[in-house]
Symmetry: C2
Subunit: 467 residues, 2 copies
């Protein structure tokens, strides 16, 4: 049965490539109000495509870009899978750095070049191909599929977030599948099993009402930049340990097997240093670079501004300073608890003559799919079937906001199966997607429905560890 499906995918490669080209021609830039028509046309193209597969399909209007929803019938004894993707793209600027125009897809050296090729039109389509292959050969899917495709991912997913709050029954499923992440490298597929959370703050410090002459007043009046330096420096010691009381309380230590697995991944520190043009790396004492990036919390100031910015010197005692910073969190750490501790920490240390305001700009919890989760094993087999090589299990140090939202509303595991490559120029000129990845991803998708079909549905599975 699966051989038939796989063969169908092989035979229709040319049409799948044409399909992707058709989809890439729409300039569906969600940040650009002049692209509203293109956004709508893209959604309609996807709707027709899903209808063409015989799925029950619908365009869900929102205040922003429409959501495209489609579902196949439930399959007795097999799980229900929600496939998420996004059809909007980043703006194509700077235009003059593109070798071929961003909305005229062009194949060169086995890659298709266009805005949205890898992020996320190409990766998203692989799951439509996987479904099509089943429907056109076997005549039905071995699992229930629900497709939920949005057009605002690049601008914050506001409409989808609202919809998630009201449609959790309709969207109920056993697992979510998203392909919007990279492979570890060419010919080395990867499944992303962990993401860090984040608690992102803005700290505003107010000293005197106006800037003062630092000669006449310096040494007698609180300086908000001095205060910012003091408060921020107090948050972390020179061993990279965050000093906020209780910060590590919910941090689960890395298991020996987690550490071994990370250590086995091909990662060349020398090359990494060279890439960043730094003499040495930095971070929490006692951890490797990959552990620091993916599996341990961190503290970074993202921006700071205050006082005189121009050339040369100006002897000003500034009235204000603003800093933006965040903690990256590991699963089980809660932004809310950190905010409360942080507020206390700053208030206790705020120097006289300085008023502080702390604002949580956004917070999300981390995500971790346990290595022993049966859905993960199924996904590994599917990816190996599609790519001819077993995937490695990796984590990512960043957050994927939509994963947090799915976590919050649907409370099911999430499989992050990425077909992209680090050099696909996501968000940059000359974005591309490998045609090999397109077809391997489609094969992996078709196999995934097959593999998941034998999995227990509902609460029989191991539940995902999400905070």
């Amino acid at each position: 049965m699966i051989q038939q499906v796989q063969q169908y995918l092989e035979e229709h490669r040319a049409r799948f490539e044409e399909d992707l080209c058709a989809l890439l021609r729409y300039p569906s830039v969600s940040a650009d109000p002049t692209c509203r028509d293109a956004i709508h046309q893209t959604a309609c193209w996807l709707l027709r495509r899903l209808e063409g597969l015989g799925l029950s399909s619908e365009l869900i209007p929102t205040e922003g870009s429409p959501l495209v929803y489609a579902e196949s019938p439930p399959v007795e004894g097999a799980p229900c899978i929600l496939v998420y993707g996004h059809y909007d793209v980043q703006p194509p600027d700077p235009l003059d750095e593109w070798r071929t125009p961003p909305f005229e897809p062009t194949v060169r050296d086995g890659n298709i070049y266009a805005r949205g090729a890898t992020d996320d039109k190409g990766q998203m389509l692989t799951h439509l191909h996987g479904a099509e292959a089943w429907l056109k050969t076997v005549g039905k899917l071995p699992v229930q599929l629900k497709f939920l495709l949005e057009g605002e991912e690049e601008v914050g997913s506001h409409s989808l977030n609202r919809y998630l709050g009201q449609a959790s029954e309709r969207l109920a499923c056993d697992v979510i599948v998203i392909s919007d992440t990279p492979q570890l490298g060419p010919d080395q597929p990867a499944i992303t099993c962990g993401l860090r959370g984040i608690a992102y703050y803005e700290l505003r410090l107010q000293g005197p009402a106006h800037d003062l002459h630092s000669g006449s007043f310096g040494g007698a009046v609180g300086n908000p930049i001095n205060a910012a330096a003091r408060l921020l420096a107090a948050l972390i010691d020179d061993q990279g340990r965050i000093q906020l009381p209780g910060f590590y309380q919910d941090v689960q230590p890395l298991s020996a097997s987690d550490r071994e697995e990370l250590a086995r991944l091909p990662f060349e520190e020398a090359r990494f240093r060279q890439q960043l043009a730094v003499d040495s790396l930095a971070g929490e004492a006692g951890y490797t670079t990959l552990e620091r990036r993916w599996a341990r919390p961190s503290f970074d100031v993202h921006g700071i501004v205050g006082g005189y910015q121009g050339e040369g010197g100006k002897t000003v005692l500034p009235s204000r300073a603003v800093a933006k910073f965040s903690f990256r969190l590991v699963p089980d750490q809660q932004p809310e608890a950190i905010t409360a501790a942080l507020q206390r920490f700053f208030e206790e240390r705020c120097p006289p003559g300085i008023r502080l305001q702390l604002e949580l700009l956004h917070g999300s919890t981390g995500f971790l799919l346990p290595r022993e989760h049966p859905y993960l094993a199924a996904a590994c087999r599917a990816v190996e079937a599609g790519f001819g090589r077993a995937p490695v299990l990796i984590r990512e140090g960043g957050s994927i906001p939509i994963v947090s939202e799915f976590n919050r509303h649907l409370d099911v595991p999430c499989l992050l199966l990425g077909w992209g490559l680090d050099d696909d120029n996501m968000h940059a000129p000359n974005e591309k997607f490998s045609l090999a990845a397109l077809h391997r991803g489609s094969q992996a998708s078709a196999c995934l429905w097959h593999e998941l079909a034998t999995m227990p549905s509902d609460d029989e599975g191991v539940s995902v560890a999400h905070a």
Copy 2:
């Protein structure tokens, strides 16, 4: 004899006011290249005025504004006094905030309003009036006067600094008199006996070659803003004590009498706080506000910038951060020694993955005229005679660059006799100078020549403590 001089000044008040108006009509804005003609005309006006007194006068051309120089003959057994002033003014912007045009001097409520009224044309002229009164009544001055008036004070005194380097023989004198500082308040004249020095730095910190995504890299790569906070915060403890090794080595403790004198000055801390709109003041533990402002070293960050500055959050791990900061110094502290200690301090503490560059943008030593200096006693008597009230001896927390330069090149004490008021709107719209201050200053000047005439010249006096 002095009564005659004083009476002359009384009788010529109207003309002195007219003279000041004439001088204020020239828009001698040194920062504005379109004012070059006005600068030149102002210098010529002063030259004619000094020639009219019978002084040997000269316009000294420079690459910038001409210097105006004039001198009277030496007086056997009496000291030689160099009077410094500046005839250039700040730009008048913002023009629409002036009640009357900046270069149309207008008298309202006993004040003359115009750009340059107090800074420094009005204050400078008092010494020409003082000299005139002697020359027109007694027929000669009781001391030798050398006038040195420059036209680039508001843009850095570059030409004067160059000239000082080559004319120290011509400018040789026993004491320098400058009127370009404020009284303590209305009807409370003051002599500024101390200035702080400064060592002003720019610190540039470089992390990775480009901004990075803080999710993917945060915790594993050095962050230059984190580093800036750490390095700056390490420079001062929560008691306001600067932590640089050796920093206090050359700081002379305040004597009991110095502290008593400062404590006697009328200074209302509550009003000061209110004026700055701060709940509490800050600074080095164990010192009063005036001691902190005037007589103790301090550390202030003047500006800091790095990473994301816009609205909301951006999860960037920035590649660079720049901070500008200074130490205010007290006499005997040397910027050069501090720079060397600072470079070591930062290098020892610079986190891995961060390269630092430290640059001294400018440095100058502090200045202190000992309370027991006989010239100071003479100046006090002269100011009391002119203002009808004994001056208080104050210090100023800032630096006056030209005082440092005079110190360096001429190595004589400097009398800072200020006739201005804090609310004279120096460098702001509606600059003014009180007519009472104009005439009292002129009387004080005439009396100063009288008082100094009996002083020992050359090295017989107590030498000034300059570092």
